[in-house]
Amino acid sequence: MRQALHAEWTKLRTDAAIAWLVLASVAPTVALSAAVAAARTAGSADLDTTKLSLVGVDLGQATVAILGVTVIGGEYATGMIRTTLTAIPRRIAVLATKAATLTAVVVIAATVAVLGSLLAAGLVLPSGVPLSLTAGSTVRAAAGSVLYLALIALLSLGVAFAVRDSAVAIGVVLSLLYLFPILIQAVSDQDWQRHLQQIAPMNAGLAIQNTVHLRGLPISPWSGLGVLAAWAAAALVLGGLTLRLRDA
């Protein structure tokens, strides 16, 4: 298992495209957060400044999804998956090591992106707008956003293992993330909206960023993240089954 981890890490480390993707997941996240925070006027106090300062995650998750899809989709495209499976015949170990290395990389990148977003927002927010970096709820939102991005990466990895084509995989992941919010806007029944918000990976998962009006949320922050974790787990199980049962 250790060799397998080492091998996966070497693969990830030596792929120049991966390094670019990691960078590309940090920069837009911080930039969008800062831009939105800068446009935020010192208005009513019940605004969720923390959530606003982390809005870049909505964008950054797309790059994280590419990352999650690419680490395996690329191997299927080039046929390298056969080399990988020859080197490590226990297929579930391949999935586990890929998941582990990917999580490590995304957690590091996401930590940089989230802290960068909060700091940038702190710098550009108009004076008088409270944004306490040490408040418990802010810490929870920040740590939760890092976990959110890691779970998005795992969801993408699972989907990519299941469909074996990176373009199709990214289409599936982005549909799961982005179509629910649109459908939620389109239906008018309150209970439909609430249920959709409770099961949608992006809406439920991002509940972790809320720091005010927690009672009014359709799902509590940690259970929301739990919903996303369930999606990621389901995708990984599906991916694992595909990997085990189908010929490489």
């Binding site: 939105v36 019940d46 590419i66 990214i170 982005l174 982005y178 806007q185």
Partner: protein, 532 residues
């Protein structure tokens, strides 16, 4: 040995070199990959499925004393079938045949009514009354003027000339049409003379500052107007509304207002001149202080009234484009196909076979764009043509009111959706050529076309930023789906969250096209310059 054999000459007569074979080849390429054809069918299904889901998740019920029935209050509809507000105070008398009314308006005042009648806007964190003295009491679109109306029935045809709170003299008819006259506010020292003449179905509005020199404001035709109509003076004052949108919703305040107008030198020519009677048109939920009244002293009338004569705006739930949210799902599927259509060739080295067969590379790109664009248009057209009537039917059966649209507008919404998918695919194809990786290309297009829309309509961003996003990004193209126009004569929240795009349908679509064209141009340059 080489000298003994004559060089080989092929015998197939070369056809004329042209674009058509390229398109034919690319079409053959597309249709012979089964996964892509299945993808197209899946896109159609998704568009339809989401329309069904949207319809099923939207009910309107009316409950009285705990007993509920499907269906909402039937809105007043204007002559065009669109829902309208037709609430004002009307001082009127019948007019048979041709005739005219002339008045002088010497003042228009207004008042924001305190207390009740405040309705919290959707998603708001609570309504509140505006602070006293914080806003001008006369609403910008408060109206006082003369009107010829089919009857006192709400929604009946009309034409009117009026002074407004801050938009000068206007001539309006049948709720949606508005023409500007002289600007400036009315006062005792600067009164406005207004005249409206009726001749058959032709109504002409005039204004004057002295009652001597008259300027025509406009002429309208109201087809089918009865020979006997109601003529008179009216006053209306739309509710005060303030709303700010930001993360997770918004806060707003709303209050009834009432306006008062003073008319003198009132004269009516033609027909049988009778006595004046006053009617509050469409009283509805109007609180008692907002119900209008009038006083007559000689030929001077003091009239007060609340409400508005205008189309209903700012309500996304009743639009036909709501049945087309599946377009986003279809778009993502088609973008994946478009990305694979080019990036897949790069991945497998097939691009070399393609370019060896057709060395003129820009033409290859154009042929690919034509094929994928046409496929996406067909998919979108089929999907939308099923989704709109089906979704409308489900929405109606669940008691929702759907804004009627002209067949031209309906066509624009359906064909426009198909066109947005087509141009989105061309954008994806161009980015796939530039980036040579389908994953990145697909994500890039989804991020620039879908994400700005989500951030704008789901109240994540403040309205200002949301509007700029929908002006500048390719997501602007979805403006072509907007079926209800924003009326400049109605003050409302014309924001993305309410279904209003900052750009008009065709301009928004042009923004998307401009992005696609720029990307395609860059792709063509790179394709020609780079080694295959």
């Amino acid at each position: 040995m080489t000298d003994t054999i004559a060089p080989y000459r092929y015998e197939i007569a070369p056809g004329r070199d042209g674009f058509a074979p390229l398109v034919h080849a690319e079409w053959t390429k597309f249709r012979t990959v089964r996964g892509w054809v299945i993808g197209c069918l899946a896109a159609v299904l998704l568009i339809v499925l989401l329309a069904i889901l949207t319809g099923s998740g939207s009910h309107t019920e009316t409950c009285v004393n705990g007993k509920c029935r499907t269906g909402g209050d039937v809105p007043t509809t204007g002559p065009g079938g669109q829902p309208v507000t037709d609430r004002f105070y009307f001082v009127h008398q019948p007019l048979a045949g041709a005739g005219s009314i002339t008045v002088r308006v010497t003042s228009l005042t207004g008042e924001i009514l305190p207390g009740g009648g405040v309705a919290a806007a959707a998603g708001s964190s609570g309504g509140s009354n505006p602070p006293p003295g914080a806003v001008s009491a006369v609403q910008p679109w408060a109206k006082a003027g003369v009107i010829v109306k089919e009857s006192t029935q709400p929604g009946s045809p009309y034409a009117a000339v009026m002074v407004t709170g801050s938009h000068g003299v206007r001539m309006q008819d049948n709720f949606t049409h508005d023409r500007a006259g002289r600007s400036g506010a009315v006062s005792a020292t600067s009164p406005r003379w207004l005249r409206l003449t009726r001749s058959g179905s032709t109504l002409t509005g005039y204004e004057s500052s002295d009652g001597v020199t008259w300027t025509k404001v406009g002429t309208v035709r109201l087809s089918g107007l009865s020979s006997t109509v109601q003529v008179g003076m009216f006053v209306a004052s739309p509710p005060y509304e303030q709303f700010s949108q930001h993360l997770g919703g918004g806060s707003g305040s709303q209050a009834f207002t009432i306006a008062g107008g003073t008319f003198d030198r009132v004269s009516v020519q033609g027909g049988a001149v009778g006595t004046w009677s006053g009617s509050q048109i469409e009283q509805g939920d109007l609180p008692p202080p907002a119900v209008g009244k009038f006083q007559q002293a000689g030929d001077t009338f003091t009239v007060s009234g609340a409400g508005d004569i205008a189309p209903v705006v700012g309500n996304r739930t009743g639009t036909i484009e709501r049945t087309l949210v599946g377009a986003f799902a279809g778009l993502i599927v088609l973008i994946v196909l478009a990305g694979q259509f080019i990036a897949g060739e790069y991945r497998r080295g097939l691009i070399r076979t393609t370019l060896a067969a057709s060395p003129r590379r820009a033409r290859v790109l154009a042929a690919k764009a034509l094929v994928i664009g046409t496929v996406a248009f067909a998919v979108g057209l089929l999907g939308a043509a099923i989704a709109v009537p089906l979704g409308e039917r489900i929405l109606r059966s669940n008691g929702n009111f759907i804004y009627p649209v002209s067949s031209l507008t309906g066509l624009r919404v359906i064909a426009g959706t198909a066109a947005v998918l087509a141009v989105g695919c061309v954008l994806a194809l161009a980015l796939g050529t530039i980036l040579r990786r389908s994953t990145t290309a697909v994500t890039a297009v989804v991020v620039v076309m879908v994400l700005p829309y989500i951030l704008s309509v789901s109240a994540v961003l403040p309205a200002g930023i949301a509007q700029w996003l929908l002006r500048l990004t390719p997501a602007a193209g979805f403006a072509i789906q907007q079926s209800t126009p924003a009326y400049s004569q109605v003050a409302a929240q014309y924001t993305p969250i309410n279904g209003y795009f900052p750009l008009s349908p065709w301009v928004g679509f042009a923004v998307l096209c401009a992005w696609a064209a720029a990307a395609a141009a860059l792709a063509a340059v790179l394709l020609r310059r780079r080694d295959a």
